[in-house]
């Protein structure tokens, strides 16, 4: 960590006690966020953290920045208004899988489509925690919960797929316990101009403990996940012995040096390419046949909503030159009575 930082992680941290359950994955994400903010160096007074409702949405109370804990599902819309009004502020928006993808699904996709410059953190624990254990829109088909005692009869959303469907330009993924990776992708998300979506696989220790274990357990994590970095080979495994290669239009995991595959066959990650074809395939890998992708999967520049609004205002004001409402009205159709 850089010792010359203007701000320390503690400068973003509220002295109030954190009230999440002991062992909840949220604690780790909060720590990573404080560290990422310190690395970014944006003053707490220039930072706003806006959330909806749910366990994860309590996060603003644990910040020393500006914060707004709003209503269920609406954080993306509130953050959009905030950012358009105050493009000088850095805006973080915190949601869970229920808040962001169920009740707030509409606002989520439209914020991504508009490409407003906010950083969205999606805490995905595949369960409703605050209401004590109902299935969420990311729970797998057949998932048994209090509201699906015989298993769900519906398919889940895959958050990345929604982001690409909404023509998103930044998507990254991490796991709560991967503190360094979370910090790294949060910094990248904040640096990216436009809507950045960061999905963090988070463990709900009370109602869905171990839901991500098949991927995140220490013994299997190296083989079932891959950390993608722009410009680097797509390698994974305990000793980076495995890689991703093209297989027709699809991807395939191989061991370098086996079956005739060499390092030259292993793909190099290009997060900046405008086409989202390969990004989608990477993001859809689920840790079974192919490793679950972590890191920044897509990071592409595109016109930013709030900047376009400001540019249009500057242009039109420059051309019309009105200084006040009265000025504007008098330039139109009026008559004078003496």
């Amino acid at each position: 960590m850089d010792n010359n930082m203007t701000f320390k992680p503690a400068d973003y941290k509220n002295p109030q006690p954190v009230r999440w359950c002991p062992g909840c994955g949220d604690h780790a994400i909060l720590n990573s966020l404080h560290k990422a903010m310190a690395r970014l160096g944006v003053p707490p007074s220039q930072t706003a953290v806006i959330s909806g409702i749910g366990c994860s949405s309590r996060l603003p109370y644990y910040m020393a920045t500006y914060g707004f804990h709003t209503i269920h599902g609406r954080a993306a819309a509130i953050a959009t208004g905030f950012k358009v009004a105050r493009p000088d502020m850095t805006v973080w928006q915190i949601s869970g899988d229920g808040d962001g993808l169920a009740i707030g699904g509409n606002h989520f996709i439209h914020a991504v489509r508009r490409n407003v410059d906010i950083n969205m953190l999606l805490f995905n624990n595949k369960i409703y925690g605050l209401t004590k254990g109902q299935y969420s829109p990311t729970s797998a088909r057949g998932f048994v919960s209090k509201s699906s005692p015989y298993g769900t009869t519906e398919d889940p959303f895959i958050p990345a797929e929604l982001v690409f469907g909404a023509r998103g330009n930044f998507f990254a993924r991490s796991i709560d316990v991967e503190l360094a990776t979370t910090e790294e992708v949060l910094v990248a998300a904040a640096t990216h101009k436009g809507t950045s979506v960061v999905e963090v696989l988070q463990n709900c220790v009370i109602f869905n403990n171990g839901i991500h274990n098949p991927i995140t357990d220490r013994e299997v994590r190296a083989d079932r996940t891959i950390l993608l970095r722009h410009g680097q080979k797509m390698l994974f495994g305990k000793n980076n012995e495995k890689g991703l290669v093209r297989d027709g239009f699809l991807l395939k995991a191989v061991t370098v040096g086996e079956d005739g595959y060499t390092m030259d066959d292993v793909l190099v990650h290009d997060a900046h390419t405008p086409s989202n074809f390969l990004h989608q395939q990477l993001a859809m890998m689920d840790g079974k046949e192919l490793p679950l992708a972590l890191g920044v999967i897509r990071d592409v520049d595109a016109p930013v909503y709030n900047e376009e609004i400001d540019a249009q205002i500057a242009d039109i004001r420059g051309r019309k030159g009105f200084t006040s409402l009265r000025d504007m009205v008098l330039a139109g159709n009026t008559w004078t009575i003496d």
């Binding site: 500006y66 208004g81 205002i313 004001r317 159709n333 009575i337």
Partner: protein, 610 residues
């Protein structure tokens, strides 16, 4: 005007233009209104258009109307019209009842062929007789004459037919002695980018005028008296535009940038349209993905330090309820405009009602008080939008502005205020000093300080959870909750000391008072004046401030033996007043037809209750 014509002098006249929704009746009506206002007349308009964008041509459901009252002392668009322009049989049939007995009906006789009569479901070939029309009927071959006027224009038939409305306008201008220069100027502005269309229309306008001149022997013409308006610069404005401009003025006088988060909904969409245009004044108007996002983006902008507004109609207000509750809890300034229409549900989207009063006052979960205000007239929309913004910003509270379709779409002449005529709005912005606590209140007004993001030292967390009265931290303490409920209630009540007292109009010494609120002002005030003329005097009071009520309300109303509340719903304001002042004997005049009051019906009903 020639001496052969019978000239009647009137203190006001009512003209109704009607035709197919594609016939340009709104344009003809608007130009006539503007020309009259420019001559110093008072004007009041009522566009009456169908919900369908384009119903089948010539059908009864596709009739679009525009009524305007012009004169010296005009408060309403008038009950019945003196002159009806009907471009086809359907328009005549739909509007025949709106014509005063003995009035003038101008019809395009070219559109009264058998097929046209069938489309309008006439049973016979004698439409005037079938309708029992008691009128001077002026049969004008508008289509033929328009075609003749443009025979050499090189325009195609379809484009030529589009000018028929302007021929009718020219004829009406002759009838009311309106010089054509101003109308020509307006056409030039309207068709600035289509010089050929402008040329054609001004030619047809003149042709219509000349036609009137040539046939004048058979019709009476009118001279309209002018009042004595306040000197100044005037423009024609409808209520929705006035609302939008009121917000811009409030933004200028408060120094807070203006933000609108909205979603299109009839009849409120014109507020979004106008503010979207006003990027030339720095306004940020966002068309969001739904009504909820409209209010939520505004709440985000309000937290960020803007004057934040969301505009909607009744169904949208229902969707915004939870968001408004958040603004109540977070004590953020927010203006919610509800341009009321007929309900419930989708109801009568293009028609007017006052049926959202209870929703505005009480339509949220928990104890959730907000300020509710309502403009009286199209131009009053400017004043009350400014007032709603002033109260929201100075008292840190959501304010609901209850406009309606009648005044939102209606227009009248508006005097442009001078630069410093409006008061400065001073929001309680935290400017450093002692440590910032978000819920630190002024002990008297209960207003908290506004910590604008970006201010070092004012970092704070707001939210929908109950907060501690002192520290602003989350609190579930029972006594604290009650204290906060009381603080929020008292804050809104204290607004009563920052608004004008209730005014009495007309006959303050009568034993009966007629009471109204919001967009019914014109009809009720005129009814009170008519009653005085008939020797049945009543006092009149009109409420623009609904919650809180003006602080002298009880004192004023208790002076009268009878209080008659007239409103376009089943008695919501009457119930509200009764709940506040159980001792009053309140009688009611109610109408829920999607239509404004008629002065005549209010007069008759008041007489029944006297």
């Amino acid at each position: 005007m020639t001496d052969k014509t019978e000239v009647k002098t009137l203190d006001k006249v009512v003209v109704r233009f009607s035709g197919d929704s594609g016939d340009g009746m709104q344009l003809a009506g608007n130009i006539f209104t503007n020309v009259s206002a420019g001559l110093g007349n008072k004007v009041s308009t009522f566009p009456d258009y169908p919900a369908e964008v384009r119903a089948p041509q010539g059908s009864l459901s596709g009739v679009s109307g525009f009524q305007v009252s012009v004169g010296a002392d005009v408060h309403t668009p008038g009950d019945l019209c003196d002159v009806l322009v009907a471009m086809n049989p359907a328009a005549l049939k739909q509007n025949a009842k709106a014509l005063r007995p003995g009035g003038v009906a101008i019809v395009d006789i070219d559109s009264f062929k058998e097929a046209d009569l069938r489309k309008a479901l006439f049973a016979t070939d004698e439409p005037f007789k079938e309708l029992g029309l008691d009128a001077q009927i002026v049969e004008v071959p508008v289509t033929t004459l328009t075609k003749a006027a443009l025979a050499d224009s090189g325009m195609d038939n379809k484009s030529i037919l589009k000018c028929r409305n302007i021929f009718a306008l020219g004829l009406v201008c002759w009838l009311f002695d309106r010089p054509l220069e101003a109308a020509v100027n307006m056409l030039r502005g309207k068709f600035a980018k289509k010089p050929a269309v402008f040329e054609a229309n001004s030619k047809v306008l003149q042709a219509g005028y000349d036609y009137g001149h040539n046939i004048h022997a058979s019709v009476s013409t009118y001279r309209i008296e002018s009042g004595e308006p306040v000197p100044g610069v005037y423009t024609d404005i409808n209520g929705n535009t006035a609302t939008a401009w009121g917000f811009i003025a409030a933004s200028e006088r408060s120094g807070r940038p203006l933000f609108l988060g909205s979603y299109p909904i009839t009849p409120a969409t014109d507020i979004l349209h106008e503010l979207a245009k006003r990027k030339d004044l720095g306004v940020k108007a966002l068309q969001m993905e739904d009504e909820i996002a409209g209010v939520c983006s505004a709440i985000g902008a309000s937290y960020a330090g803007d004057l934040a507004v969301t505009s909607t109609s009744g169904p949208g207000l229902a969707l915004k309820s939870e968001g408004i509750g958040l603004a109540v809890m977070a004590e953020l300034p927010l203006v919610v405009v509800d341009v009321q229409r007929g309900g419930p549900s989708t109801g009568l989207p293009t028609k007017t009602e006052q049926t959202d009063l209870m929703q505005a006052l009480y339509g949220r979960n928990g104890e959730s008080p907000v300020v509710v205000v309502a403009p009286s007239t199209p131009t009053d929309c400017f004043t009350m939008a400014f007032e709603a913004s002033r109260i929201a910003l100075e008292h840190m509270t959501p304010v609901i502005l209850l406009s309606d379709a009648f005044i939102g779409n209606g227009s009248s002449a508006w005097r442009v205020p001078e630069a410093d005529e409006l008061p400065v709005i001073k929001a309680p912005v935290y400017e450093g000093g002692e440590g910032y606590k978000p819920y630190d209140r002024d002990p008297e007004t209960m207003v908290r300080q506004w910590g604008i993001p970006g201010t070092p030292g004012a970092e704070h967390r707001l939210g929908g959870l109950e907060k501690d009265f002192e520290t602003g931290a989350i609190s579930i303490d029972p006594a604290n909750h009650e204290r906060m409920v009381e603080a929020r209630r008292r804050k809104v009540e204290m607004v009563a000391y920052d608004i004008p007292e209730l005014k009495l109009y007309d006959c303050p010494d009568a034993d009966t008072i007629l009471v109204g609120w919001g967009g019914t002002y014109g009809h009720l005030r005129t009814a009170a004046q008519e009653l005085a003329k008939e020797g049945r005097p009543v006092a009149f009071a009109h409420f623009n401030y609904i919650n809180p009520l003006p602080r002298n309300t009880r004192e004023v109303l208790s002076r009268f033996k009878r209080v008659i509340v007239a409103e376009l719903n089943s008695g919501m304001f009457a119930d509200y007043l009764q709940s506040k002042f159980p001792e009053l004997e309140i009688k009611r005049i109610n109408k829920v037809q999607g239509q404004p009051f008629l002065v005549g019906e209010v007069v008759a009903k008041v007489k029944e209750l006297l």
